[in-house]
Symmetry: C2
Subunit: 237 residues, 2 copies
Amino acid sequence: MKAELLYEGKAKRVYQAEGKSGQLVLSYKNDATAFNGVKKDSFDGKGRLNNEISSLIFTALHEKGIETHFIERLNETEQMVVQTEIIPLEVVVRNVASGSITKRLGIEEKTHFDKPLIEFFYKNDELGDPLINDEHALYLTSATPAEIDEIKEKALEINKQLMDLFQSINITLVDFKLEFGRKACGTIVLSDEISPDTCRLWDAATGEKLDKDVFRQGTGDLIEVYKEILKRLEAKA
Amino acid sequence: MKAELLYEGKAKRVYQAEGKSGQLVLSYKNDATAFNGVKKDSFDGKGRLNNEISSLIFTALHEKGIETHFIERLNETEQMVVQTEIIPLEVVVRNVASGSITKRLGIEEKTHFDKPLIEFFYKNDELGDPLINDEHALYLTSATPAEIDEIKEKALEINKQLMDLFQSINITLVDFKLEFGRKACGTIVLSDEISPDTCRLWDAATGEKLDKDVFRQGTGDLIEVYKEILKRLEAKA
């Protein structure tokens, strides 16, 4: 299914799809990185888990009418997606304060935001993915003012759907990171992945962390918590 | 003229005005600080220079119909202003890239912005005045969405007037920091000061820095360059 390797990221390889113009194969790696690549490790089975989790979540979003780049899961570690021009923004939606925002703005961990907070980070490893405002996003990317608004609206709608989905499997969606891409026709759609690599997911009853924070903080077994997320999503699907 | 000391900042003391309810006396100090207070020094005459420069600039803005907290210069180092509730935002307007933005976003020094860039920093010394976006500003301050828009519009109008003013004395207005305050009646007005402490000012012909960067970078005599700014403004006034 795969032709040329187009790009290798920290957690995925991106290939042109063999004989399918405008389609890509995402191949999920077992690598885990944190703190902009400073902490690194590899976990057998992580690629499969994130590929399966992200496929289930994107499928659930499709069922709610949200357009994404996802086409289908091909095998354990690969999925087919529509080729898009990625807009170099990490779009973070926060329902509960955790992680970088608590230190950066002095907001107490676990503070609940009545209105979800949206943040843009400029996707640039050399600069350490800095926080930016809307005007920076307009200056640094090809996005228009209308597209910036559209990205925020889509992020909030996705948040609503994801909160419902995770609530139904007893998980609190604390925050997550999205990326958007522009299709050849110009439409902006959700791209990249949604997985415990890109979300903070807390067990709703116990508060147990079921996401990459167990690796960042060295407080748990990454594979076990990712398996738990997949198990709950599969039971629901 | 002064009663109780209300607040002592890095560059000014703020007193309740004697017998004048709703008015404050700003007393300019000779202290200079940089890098969030890490670099400190004192320069004889700096308080007088900034008081006189800021008074001339606020008066020029009044003549252009821009409302500010400024009432009058009282003496060499003091001025009377309307008491406002300061909104804890440092509103930065950038016409040309210099300083923190060049490293933060990888934008080359001296890049001209076709559209001036506005940035908000959360005025909080403990947190190091972090860059924030509009949603953070709404969460962290009492400003409403309409007031955030109003602050940006006022900042751009002030930029236009200041660019004209400085151009007329052969100075390029590279960037500057504003603060806004809410009067008792609710109106938001320009507050704080506008001086070589809060602006980057380059000689339009030679590019010579005529602002606090000579202190930050240890490349010139602060008092001499501040005197040059005052001399040019007085010749124009």
